[in-house]
Each structure stands twice: as C-alpha cells, then as structure tokens.
Subunit: 215 residues, 4 copies
DNA sequence: CATGAATGAGTATTCATTCAT
DNA sequence: AATGAATGAATACTCATTCAT
C-alpha cells in the first residue's frame, strides 16, 4: 500500500507511542493555555494533534490526567532549568542571584506554555483540578526552589557579601517579586519590550540586593 | 393574580432593582471565586440569590456581563481602597509607601473575593472574557494606580528622602512584588500566619526602599 | 401568536406536568420493552414523546430512574388489577382461583408492556438496575401477592373444599405455573391463539385444584 | 521473529483452534450472564480469556455470533441432559415424569450459566438478537422437548396410569410450571433452600399428576 | 416585572470492529 | 495466525438562553 494512503501511523513500539503521546500533550498544552481547562475539548485537542478521539483515550485516562501530567512536567522543567543556571560557577553571590532571576525569565519565555500552566495555578483553588498528589508535589518542588534561593543568600552572608538578616523572608520576597513582575508583564498591555523586562528584572534584583548588601 | 399569591417582590423602583442586582452579583462573585467562571452556572447563582433564572437575564445581558461587572467593580474598589489610604497625611514618604502596601494587603483580606477576581485575571488571557472595553478599563485603572505610586516616589526624591533614580521601574517593582507576595501566600500551603504576611510585606517594602534611600 | 406556531406546550401547573411526564414514561416503556434498557436511548424516547432531550431531564433524574418508576408502577398496577378481581364475591374458592388466574392473564394482555417490564425482571440479575429500594419493593409486593393466594387456599381448606395440605407450596406452584405459561406463550412461536391460552390457563388451574380438591 | 519471543500460541491445527474458541466462549458466557449482552464488551471477554481482541474476530464474526453460538449450545445441552435422564428405565410413567423434572432442575444447577442464557431468552424479543435461524432452531428444539414429554404422557394413558385427556395441554403446563418455578426461585429473595426447591418441584409434579391420574 | 419550563447544541467517554505489522 | 493500536459513531447528560404565561 502506498505511503500516502495510510490514514494513521501505528505506534507499535515504546518510542512511537511516546511520540504520539507527546503530540497529544503538546496540543493539549496549547489549548489549556489558550482557552483554559474547561474550554479545552478533547475533540479539538485530538484534531490538532492529528489523532482521533479514541486514540486520546488510549494514551490518557481522561482530560484531567493530561492536565496533571502537563503540570507535573512543567514543574519538573522549571526545576531543571533553574538548577542548570545554578550549575555554572559565579564569582559573586550577587551575580548568582541575578543569574537565577534571568534564568526564570528565560524559562518564562522559552517555555512560555509551561510557564503559563504553572502560573495559572491559583486558578487551582478549583480543587477539582488538584488532587492531593499534585498539591504535595507542588509544595515539595516549590519548597525545594525556595530553599535553593535561601542557601544562596546564606552563602552570601557567610562570604561577607550580605549583612546578617532573615534570609527566608528575603527568599520569599525574591520569588514573589519575580513572579509578580512576570505576571504584571503578562497581563497588562503596558507590556514591556523584551529588553525592558530583562532590565526591570535585573533592576529589581539589584534593588533588593542593595538592601541587604554590605557597604 | 391576587397580591398575596405573589412569592416574589416586584422591583418597581430603582432602589429595589439595585437590591436584586446586588444579590445576584454577590452570589455570582462567590461562585466565580469558588468554582471558576465555566463551572459557575447561572441557575446555581440565581438559586443562591433567591431569584429565578429569568430574573437574572432581566438584570444582566448574560453570564459574561456579570463577570465583567464584577471585575470592573473590583478594580474600582481597589482604587478607592488605596486612595483612602493615601488621603491621610504621612510624615515621611517611606511611611506613605508602607501604608499603601498595608492597604493593599488589607484589601486582599477584607474583600477577598474581589481581590481574587482581580488576581485570577491572567486566567483572562482567555480573550473570550476580556473584550476591548474591559482591557481598556483595566489598563486605565492599573495605570492610574501605578502612576499614583510613581508620584509618591517622585515626591520622595524631591523631598530628599530618596536618591534620584528611575521611579517608574521602582513603581512596577513595588506593584509586582506586592502582587507576587500575596499570590505566593494564596497559592501555597506554606501559607504564612496573618501577622507573618504583614511582616513580610513591610519587610519587602523596607528592603526596596533601603535600596533607593539616601544614606 | 397563532396556536400552530407554538413549538411546545409549557407545563405550568401540576396537571400539565403530569401529562408530559406520562408521555415520556409511555415512550420510555415502549422502548424498554421493544429494545431493552441499554438499547433505549434518551434521545429516541424524547423524540417519540415529542419532547426535547432537556425536557426529559426536567422530569427525570436520569434514564435509570424512569426505568425504576415504570417498574414500580407496573408492580402497583398488577397488584391493583388482581385485587380488583378478588373484590367480587365468588361462590366457590375454586372459582376464585380461576378468576385470579384469568385476571393475571388479562393483565398480561391489557397492560402488555407493563407485564413485560415485570417479567423481564430476571434480566434484573444485572444489579445496576436494581438498587436495594427496588428489590425490597419487589419482594414486598411479590410476597403480598403470594400471601393473597395462600389465604384463598386456606379458606378453601376451612370451607371443606380442599383437603388439608401445605398451602404455601401450592401457592408458589400456582404462581410459577401462571408465570411459566405466560412466558412460554410469549417467547415461542408455538404461540397459542388467544382463546387457546385462556383455555390452557384454566385447564392448568383445574389440574392443580383437582390435585388438592376433596373427592 | 525468533520463536522464543512469541507470547502466544499459534493454533495451527483444529484441536488448538477449538481450545481457543472454547476459552473465548466460556469467558463470553460468564460475562453475558453476569452483565448482560450489551454490557459485555469484546475487549473484556478477550482479556478474561487471555486472548487478544483481534483473535476474537478470528474465531467469531462478531459479538452477536458468540451469543448465538452459546444459545444454540445451551439448547443442545439441555436436550442432551434431559434425554440422558430419559434413557434410564422407569417402572412407572409417574416416576419418569418426576425424573424429567429433577433432571431439568439439575441442569439449571449444574449448568447454571447455560440455563440462564436460555431463560433470559424473552429478553430475546429484542429481535436484533434473534435472527430467523435462531428462532427456527429454538422452535425446533423446544418442540422436540415438548413432544418428548407428550409422548411420555401418552404412554401413561396407554399403560392405564393416567386417564384419557389432552396430553398436549398437560405438556405445556408441565413445562411452563417447571420454568416458572425455577424462575421464581431465581429472581426472588424468597429463594428457597436447595432441598426446598427440589421438594417444591416434586410436589408440583405430583400435584399435576394426581390431577390426571386414575384414582 | 418575574417566572421557570423548554430547548438543543455541545462534550466527555466508550466500544465494536478493522487492519498493518 | 495473532496482535492490539486506531478509529469514530454513538450516547447520557448539562446548561446558557429564550419566552409564554
């Protein structure tokens, strides 16, 4: 049978299955981000992925499970992205914090959809979407991130770069500030140019760091 | 039909109409915040408000319009709340900024539902929810708020409290930071105690102000 | 607006509502009997009843509930039908039993659909269809019917018509026999003419009664 | 593909084929009886039989055909079971009829699933399930069974055990009665103990026979 | 003005059957 | 022969909105 007569590709091995799964998740992600959970229809997702409805249910238990898979994945990606940035050596702790901030900014741009899934999380009050598992996961990951920042700040104190202070508070402020700025940028038409946002982020970091810096 | 058979009150004057309208909006707000827009049903809202479905459509064009009305209202309330805080005289500009921050915090607690409507706005990328009108309004109000902060900062410079710097950037950072902290508090189980949050907010303000303060 | 432009009738009072409800139940009954529970679609039922799908759910919680309602109703109708037959005075107990048998036969003909709903009950092993409530109801009603027969037989003994024997056993045999004959008639193409079945039923009653009659 | 990678057994000869076929039918029977025709899924049947979906369609045209095969088989089994009982010599015709009744009872217990398939047949008004072929078959077999009983009764008359009467009617009554009692037992919670049912069956036979016996 | 019955398009999910491997 | 991935039609149920009363 000529290749072009084929209506669909049979995923017979693990790899092929994974490709289809990814295609479906990708389409789902795009829709969740563009239209939100409830307005995302399974049928539209499959159409976008070039699969049939039935196929969707071959790969996912139901609509909610894809959402959760995506959420978990986003969380994981963010963690990896930030860890990556931390791996490089930095002469000063100040530089390290700046790098972390830029890395988050980068993530929000390079993996915009994943970032949006994560940031829409307060939509997550809607507890139908967040079972205990996801909540725990979220807390664990978020906590890990915050602790990472906290450790950096402590190092700054130990190294004499920062004055002695409540690092945990500063950590939360850093994180909240970053989130807040990205959100502000995201939602408002006041939206800044790319370089503008980068500028702003660095400026904010400097502002805060100055507040805790020695001399 | 004899008067005593009527189960409902006929709103013949503006005041009575307004009461019904408020009841419906209140019920809608509660549901939007608890269940989200899509999972809020008109029928449930009217039931909660003790009105009939038909009545709903007498007072609102459709479901979306109530949402928009609530959003506008929330925006307006926030503006008034902050303006109120600004009306009192403050010996130092630093104190004024602190008061502003605390006022926002207060709003997020006293008018929690309205605050949540505003903060879920990034859900609002979903453009079905944001027509041009709402977007303009949002921008106008948000801009007004930001400008208010900017003015305060400029006054701080003029009065010699702050060093000369890009106040607009600082403004955005202030706003983003506040939003970010409230969000962080809202979404995470790490949630702080009441006094803890207040503390954190003041701490963050101080941190930033120290960054722009003279001496 | 001229009468013929009306798309539907608004059931505003209890009576009108009842009429619609009946129409839906009737259509559902016909379909359940003809096609079985699973192959009965709500949409087909509503179409047959001249109503819309939504209307169906205005009158019934779901498909299963209509089925249960019909089942309950059928049970109730059968009981009333047989009681009616028993109300008339009968010179002999033998005559009374014959009348009862004929009454059941009559029911199976006059209310064929209801009879079929009842008789398909062993389909009811499928416990999804029979909740505790229905089962209890069924047992109660069935027991009442059987007891009714038992009482008659006892009266026959007391009156000297029948010899002393285990009336409960005979009762079960009577009932089983009737059911069995109607079923045999229903399912086989051997099907008897109307008068043939009547004949057979009376013959079977006589046969059994002779077995317990004195002399 | 190397031999050892094969997870399945290739049925290359008639015997191996028959084994697979039986496994599928057995699983199907269990499901039909437990869940009913419509709620039986091909996929569940194959899973239970340890075969793949595709294999199912290798052995059966479709779902309906298995059902029909099972039905035919059940009919055949019942006939053989009863014939078996008739093969033994019986001193009296009365004893023979009793033996026949007990044999049917035995069948309903030993081959419960097959018995249930047969007895749910009035579900079979649903003509999707009964094509002409099955109907004819049913009639032929049923008729054969009935004729067998009829012959016994005639022999009873000829032998002077029973009085002269319409044996065909009695035959139908016998059959209906048996079916009715088993059904009554099956569906009601009033359900009798094992010995109770046996008792009842024999009692019913005696009752009827007394009605046609010569003094 | 107020009501709530009626509508029917819309959506998640299932499952018999096919067919490339 | 055997497999099981893929298909998509089918179906129960929901809900925003209308409009006769």
């Amino acid at each position: 049978m000529p290749e072009e007569d084929r209506r669909f590709i049979r995923a017979t091995n693990a790899e092929a299955r994974e490709i289809k799964r990814r295609a479906l998740m990708k389409a789902a992600l795009a829709s969740f981000v563009e239209r939100g959970y409830d307005r995302t229809t399974v049928s539209a997702v499959t159409k976008a992925a070039g699969e049939s409805v039935g196929t969707f249910y071959l790969y996912f238990e139901n609509k909610l499970q894809v959402y959760r898979s995506l959420y978990r994945e986003a969380l994981e990606m963010l963690r990896r992205h930030l860890e990556e940035a931390m791996r490089k050596p930095h002469p000063t702790v100040t530089g390290e914090v700046r790098a972390l901030a830029l890395s988050y900014l980068e993530f929000s741009r390079e993996k915009r959809d994943y970032y949006l899934i994560l940031s829409s999380q307060h939509l997550g009050q809607q507890d139908f979407i967040n079972d205990g598992f996801l909540k725990d996961r979220l807390d664990t990951e978020a906590l890990a991130l915050l602790k990472m920042i906290d450790r950096i700040l402590r190092r700054g104190i130990d190294g004499g770069e920062f004055r002695r202070h409540d690092t945990w508070k500063t950590t939360m402020i850093f994180w909240g500030m970053m989130d807040g700025l990205l959100l502000l940028n995201e939602r408002s038409n006041l939206a800044l140019s790319n370089s503008g946002l980068e500028d702003l982020v660095l400026y904010s970091v400097d502002l805060c760091l100055r507040g805790i810096s020695i001399s």
